[in-house]
Symmetry: C2
Subunit: 348 residues, 2 copies
């Protein structure tokens, strides 16, 4: 059963219990991960398929999770576009030469995954093989807006001022950059699926900085194109972003099969907007995992009540799990989601 739940839920088919996976489930909250990081710096780890596949499987061996997600970073395919970056500990992606003008754009090209990120594709193959059907493997990529925000700001941002400013004041530069990113990301995800990914998640994490009107004009067409290109691959396509409460009308137009939402919007309200012909993923506040079991249970019960046993709910946090999260609370959460949702189904 464990092997089926996630993909069934992506297709809105009935399941014995609500499937759960956790964004950044192979991350720093795991001692096993921190131990591996003693041997490899972050980018070397991403570029070493044997180790990256091992990390991909870590949380699956430790917890009763319903899906594995490729261990990689959204920045990796940018190298093939001609963008040099570094991942700085406790800062994030840093780009020495941000792209802010049409002249800067001339340095860039479409990145081709077989040439620029063969190690990611090899990680996918290895991880898929080692999972041996226990649970499905999710591939992923950053979405054009979110990647553009790093490329333009040059580092993680809170308000994305330079990004939005370029978008609104230099639309030609903006659209040219989005074109390059759209093609790069589409090829990247297609290659991951070809290598064995059984679902893909497009992280447009920071898109919630935009007004709906600007999202529609400057972002939606590109996201739509990516999901449209992927349709022929016949695997579930997940869209994820934070602070998307007032963008959901637009996000449902992207063509994704599953929409991930954060904790800011009640799951039932979100599902009502995106429509019951789509699956929904989410949406526990990651900070809840620091609290007592009572508080965790209280929040999980609320989310399951909102999901109302409707086929198509995939439980997840509303954003990545935090580095200091106690792993025993992760085990508690996973068991709780399975147990409570199975009970509800038994009652129904």
């Amino acid at each position: 059963m464990r092997s089926d739940r996630f993909l069934l839920a992506c297709n809105r088919k009935p399941v014995d219990a609500t499937p759960i996976w956790i964004m950044r489930q192979a991350g720093r909250y795991l001692k096993e991960y921190r131990d591996i990081r003693e041997e490899f710096d972050f980018l070397t780890l991403c570029k070493t398929p044997e180790a990256a596949a091992r990390v991909t499987l870590l949380p699956i061996e430790k917890f009763d999770l319903d899906a594995a997600i490729l261990f990689a970073d959204i920045m990796l395919p940018l190298e093939g576009m001609g963008i040099d970056f570094d991942i700085v500990e406790s800062v994030g992606p840093v780009i020495e030469k941000p792209v802010r003008t049409l002249a800067d754009l001339r340095r860039l090209r479409v990145g081709h995954p077989e040439e620029s990120v063969p190690y990611v594709l090899e990680t996918v193959r290895l991880a898929r093989q080692r999972l041996a059907g226990r649970v499905p493997l999710i591939g992923f990529a950053g979405a054009p807006f979110t990647l553009a925000s790093y490329i333009i700001e040059g580092k993680p941002s809170k308000e994305f001022i330079l990004t939005k400013r370029l978008m609104l004041t230099e639309p030609i530069t903006w659209h040219a950059l989005m074109e390059l990113l759209t093609e790069t990301v589409s090829e990247y995800l297609k290659a991951q699926i070809k290598a064995g990914a059984q679902a893909v998640q497009l992280f447009d994490s920071w898109v919630g900085a935009l007004a709906p009107k600007d999202y529609s004009e400057f972002v939606l067409p590109y996201t739509k194109r990516i999901f449209s290109v992927l349709k022929e691959c016949n695997v579930p396509r997940i869209h994820f972003g934070v602070i998307t409460a007032s963008l959901l009308e637009q996000i449902k137009e992207t063509g994704a099969d599953v929409i991930g939402v954060d904790w800011r919007i009640p799951l039932d309200q979100a599902w009502n907007v995106i429509g019951y012909d789509k699956s929904i993923q989410g949406n526990l506040d990651p900070v809840v995992l620091f609290a007592s079991h009572d508080v965790v249970q209280n929040h999980v019960e609320e989310i399951l009540r909102q999901a109302n046993n409707r086929p198509g709910h995939i439980f997840n946090l509303g954003h990545g799990i935090m580095p200091d999260t106690p792993p025993e609370n992760v085990a508690f959460l996973i068991d709780l989601v399975h147990r409570l949702s199975a009970n509800e189904r038994a009652k129904a």
Copy 2:
């Protein structure tokens, strides 16, 4: 007319043109302000009523704005609670000894404005006098959640992890801190009104980090109490926060007369949720003010179309104006809002 528009709109009475004021309208985008800052560091400026009143009036003398807002900082009343802080240039408020335990709380007390911030009250009196009825004067305070976030994090935060963690894991400490802040803020705003403020805005800027359920439990009761205490003062009470799209059902319960929203939610959707028995304030993305007049006009027209000439719209940005904003675009915006909204009213 200019003197009446803002207060009329707060009371949902018809106006000749939509009133506009701008959060941080007396800020760094003005050369005149930067010149004054050559003489005073930020906190000294806040604590020098003559100069703070002068800064309060700067944008009124320069632009056709419909309200002035007190020049001050949300951190000021914390000093009277026993919290030492500094405002660090291009960082923001920094607190050397953050409050994170019940023991830390023992250092704190309710702050009384006449003792701890007499200079703010004097600024209100001076500014009101110098405005001489040209436009009304808005007073303001930070709301308990937003102040708590600085007190707990010790500095500006992106994700408010320590704040939410304390709230969820140490509810007794949380509620005790919120009690102290609620009383301090209530007294502070009452004193500003007594000194001459003709409306007050409560900035709960960062409350959008919370799930609606947690907002209801940990924040709403306190905000409600502040607005309830202020009711007898008979001046319009404005609530403002960013990323509140999915909190509006709760925020309308705070008892505010005017709800400020950011650009992430279309104004018509927001108004529909908060109800037409309340006024609405907003909601242009501040980054739009870097763009061409065409782009500005396009965005302003959309907002006015959504407001639909309904009495009770106060135009504002969705957050504070940015330091590099070209002042000529501010003049263009103010004129545009007045002109387009007056035309619409003439047609109706």
